[in-house]
């Protein structure tokens, strides 16, 4: 539908296809890659100028990672050329990519936890030696200079395990600079950062850009991309469908380009106002745990989507894990349908009807080597027994359930026997939610359910959450994405540093109000000042 073949054509979404700068320092031409017959990247042309901040957006599976993996030399493209400063890049060689000045920072941050920041920065770097032994002082000169450039305040001898996620990002960027990178590709850099931390990162990115280091910025957070990037490239189904300079594209246009259609505006939606005189489905009473949760009380009413907003580290994930039986609270208790419950472990929580869809999808949710069928059914095996008193399960009963749920939630998979690892993030997340549907669940906690999920799947997940709530399942939604809360929550409790700091309901749920309660309060401003001093 979109004119990608004719360069001069203005695209349907306001971006101009001839936004490609002719003075590309890096030129990608006709890059194509298919996996098992499926085109993951279809003749992509892309130019990146020196010092440009280039946004790369698209739904999961649109080809962003394939493009980046080709640049990094870890995937061999079927066709196409990459030239850097006029010299052709040898493809399929990570070493060649590194020598060409390309650096890659993945979401997982490949750092060795018990190594110091300096050791990590020097990993893979030829170190200076003295009498055949590593001379850390001389080796570290470049790294220390790079650390200064990105504004690292902590001593470089600190083990990475003691650093915050934001500080780890600085280490990774410092490492790239120490290796003379001319282009740094960043994958979802702000996914685990708080707002102030993100702001600091943006400042560093702008500074790098001024000094001629190009940034390839991959993110689902569109506001960020619109705000930060000089140019934005939109990928859909392996093809570049739009390219626009800053200011030539707004968020609506960007969303449309990514998914190919509009999404419902959040203002139009109805808010469900729960009857507060009803008995709550679930109650939290004065729960405290270590230093993370400091006396929290609230109720979940039937029909509503209750959300916990706030910053990363506010204690929401810890609270969720307490409810799910991973930890026991130090004080306080929970009530389910008015009855006090004490669960000793995760299994007891599940038996009483409480389940958690965890934040870390891959490490805590999925059995990656197993099929969609297995992953959906693993929590409800007892319902597939041939005879309820015997432990034998009928695979056919399980398959029927899995197939029904795949249809119902619109999980895109070639079959229920496909490995779950082969699905996109959004479909994996849907499968994790499907695990609990019809499994006698009474309270479902969803921790960051749409992290790393593309726009289209996100909308479908929201629909599922809402439908579950309306059907009488208690819902606690945890999200650091204020926009998401404004779209899906009926009532938002904002948490900060282990305490509830505010409650918003109905039309009061706006991004501005949530952000305000999350960190723009008096004592937080104080802390920020302290940090700056």
């Amino acid at each position: 539908m979109l004119g990608t073949t004719q360069k001069s054509e203005t695209s349907a979404f306001g971006g101009s296809m001839d936004a490609r700068s002719p003075a590309g320092w890096m030129e990608i031409r006709g890059l194509t890659k298919s996996f098992a017959g499926e085109l993951a990247l279809d003749a992509a042309d892309l130019d990146i100028a020196r010092g440009e901040v280039h946004g790369l957006v698209g739904a999961n599976g649109a080809g962003k990672s394939t493009l980046i993996r080709c640049l990094a030399g870890v995937t061999m493209p079927d066709r196409g050329r990459i030239t850097i400063g006029g010299a052709e890049l040898r493809q399929g060689s990570p070493q060649a990519s590194e020598q060409a000045g390309l650096a890659f920072i993945h979401q997982e941050l490949n750092l060795v936890p018990h190594f110091s920041a300096l050791q990590n920065m020097l990993l893979g770097v030829r170190k200076a030696t003295r009498f055949g032994l590593i001379d850390w002082k001389r080796s570290g000169i470049r790294a220390r200079a790079a650390a200064k450039r990105v504004g690292i305040q902590f001593p470089l001898e600190t083990p990475v395990s003691e650093l915050s996620v934001a500080e780890r990002w600085l280490v990774m960027i410092g490492k790239a600079l120490a290796l003379d990178a001319n282009l740094i590709a960043m994958d979802e850099p702000t996914a685990s950062l708080s707002e102030p931390e993100s702001e600091k990162l943006f400042a560093i990115i702008r500074d790098l850009s001024r000094h001629g280091v190009a940034i390839l910025y991959v993110s689902h957070r569109l506001e960020e991309v619109l705000d930060l990037c000089d140019r934005i490239t939109v990928l859909r189904d392996g093809r570049i469908v739009d390219q626009a300079l800053r200011g030539r594209l707004d968020k609506k246009g960007l969303v449309r380009a990514i998914i190919g259609h509009d999404i419902r505006a959040p203002e139009d939606r109805e808010h469900f106002a729960a009857n507060r005189s009803q008995q709550p489905i679930f109650s939290v009473r004065d729960v405290a745990w270590r230093s993370a949760v400091k006396g929290v009380s609230f109720d979940v009413f039937p029909g509503e989507v209750l959300a916990l907003g706030g910053l990363i580290g506010a204690g929401r994930t810890e609270l969720a894990r307490l409810v799910a039986g991973v930890h026991r609270p130090d004080s306080g208790h929970f009530e389910l349908h008015g009855q006090r419950i004490a669960v000793a472990n995760e299994a007891e929580a599940v038996e009483t009807g409480i389940a958690l869809v965890p934040e870390e999808r891959r490490s805590q949710g999925l059995m990656l080597d197993y099929s969609v069928d297995f992953n959906i059914n693993i929590a409800s095996l007892a319902t597939f027994r041939n005879f309820s008193s015997l432990p034998f399960v009928s695979p056919a009963k399980g398959r029927r359930r899995a197939e029904g749920l795949v249809d119902r939630l619109g999980i895109k998979t070639p079959s229920i026997d496909a490995k779950i690892a082969s699905l996109s993030g959004g479909n994996q997340q849907k499968a994790l939610i499907a695990r609990w549907l019809g499994a006698g669940i009474r309270l479902l906690i969803l921790d960051e359910p749409s992290r790393g999920v593309d726009v289209g799947a996100r909308e479908e997940i929201h629909g599922t959450i809402r439908a579950l709530a309306r059907s009488g399942v208690g819902i606690i939604l945890i999200s650091s994405d204020v926009e998401e809360l404004a779209i899906v929550a009926d009532r938002v409790l904002v948490m900060r540093e282990g305490r509830l700091t505010g409650e918003l309901a109905g039309r009061d749920i706006t991004e501005a109000r949530i952000i305000e309660l999350s960190y723009h309060s008096a004592d937080n401003a104080e802390r920020e000042q302290r940090d700056q001093a």
Partner: protein, 337 residues
């Protein structure tokens, strides 16, 4: 340069090309072990058509494979749940010793001796399980410690082989051929493998075992009692070791210190060969059985061809490295694409 890339572009753009190299590697990673087994049988049959390729010899191979298959199937369970059991060989030796001791020294009836021996086997497994799940000792250390202690305990029980006072009925358990002239251990193996296969693939607990091995955190959050599942796996491994130990003593007509220790390595080789069979790196009963057959056919064939005994460990180690290495390479290639 340009010309060549243009021509390749033209040929690949029309139809979706089949990546033969990738397909080949995938085939190798899944069916390579079975292919190897067939190849070995064909090779030995052509080299020794009368001696190797005969009903009697095939029964001999199966009979030899039986005891390894039973102990290896138990070991498979511990690996399915993501643990290890290095004590199975020592446990089989120890139980093989005490089971005849119960009859010879304590004068117990056969049935009671066997029941007690199997109970001891389960208990040893549960001790391993407790050390791993409750005390949280690394399984390699815990099971090696228990296994080492068992060799000492066996020595304390009887420093000399027990060869007298063993009822004929006991040795007949594995020596006689109840049906079709097939040695009894083959039936024991078939029954045990079938039961273990059913448990692993067709019961709650088997699915849960697989989930625990696949992702322990996810399994916990799915409401699976992970420690219990692991205890079950260790208990089964202990029981299987006990069965192998008992059958071995019955076969030999004596109880000897350390006689089954060598099964540990055979079982591990078989289980890892099996993990490269039909699936990509998962442990399962059918795979383990194929692994056991590869070892048994190899040993038997080499012996029939007159290869000196020192070729056996070379064959065993070599084929293990070859199979596991091949599947690891293929898997990595498939994953990197």
């Amino acid at each position: 340069m340009t010309k060549r890339s243009e021509t390749t572009a033209r040929t690949t753009s029309g139809r979706k090309p089949i990546d033969w190299r990738r397909a080949g590697l995938l085939f190798l990673s899944r069916y390579g072990t079975i292919f190897g087994l067939v190849l070995m049988i064909v090779f030995f049959s052509s080299m020794a058509p009368t001696t190797f390729f005969s009903r009697a010899n095939f029964l001999n191979i199966l009979s030899q494979a039986s005891l390894t298959a039973i102990i290896a199937a138990g070991l498979t369970y511990t690996l399915v749940v993501g643990e290890f059991d290095l004590s199975v060989g020592f446990a089989a030796s120890f139980i093989g010793l005490i089971v005849v001791g119960f009859m010879s020294y304590q004068g117990m009836p056969i049935w009671l001796s066997i029941v007690l021996a199997l109970v001891v086997g389960v208990c040893l497994g549960l001790i391993n399980g407790t050390l791993v799940t409750k005390v949280r000792i690394n399984a390699v250390i815990a099971t090696l410690g228990v296994g080492t202690m068992l060799t000492g305990l066996g020595f304390s029980y009887s420093a000399f082989p027990i060869a007298t006072g063993i009822p004929r009925a006991f040795t007949n358990i594995s020596l006689s051929r109840v049906l079709f002239g097939i040695p009894n251990p083959v039936f024991f193996m078939a029954a045990i493998l079938l039961v273990l296969w059913i448990i692993l693939n067709r019961t709650d607990i088997g699915q849960k075992m697989q989930a625990v091995g696949a992702n322990i955190e996810a399994a916990r959050l799915s409401g699976i009692r992970v420690d219990r599942i692991k205890m079950f796996a260790f208990g089964t491994a202990g029981l299987c070791a006990a069965i192998t130990g008992t059958l071995l003593s019955s076969l030999l007509g004596s109880g000897t210190l350390g006689v089954a220790d060598g099964y540990l390595l055979d079982a591990f080789a078989a289980v890892f060969l099996g993990s490269a069979t039909l699936r990509e790196g998962q442990f399962h009963i059918v795979g383990t059985f194929v692994g056991v057959l590869i070892l048994a056919v190899g040993f038997n064939g080499l012996a029939i061809l007159g290869a000196p005994a020192n070729y056996q460990p070379i064959f065993k180690g070599g084929i293990l490295i070859l199979a596991v290495g091949m599947s690891a390479l293929a898997r990595r290639y498939a994953a990197s694409r």
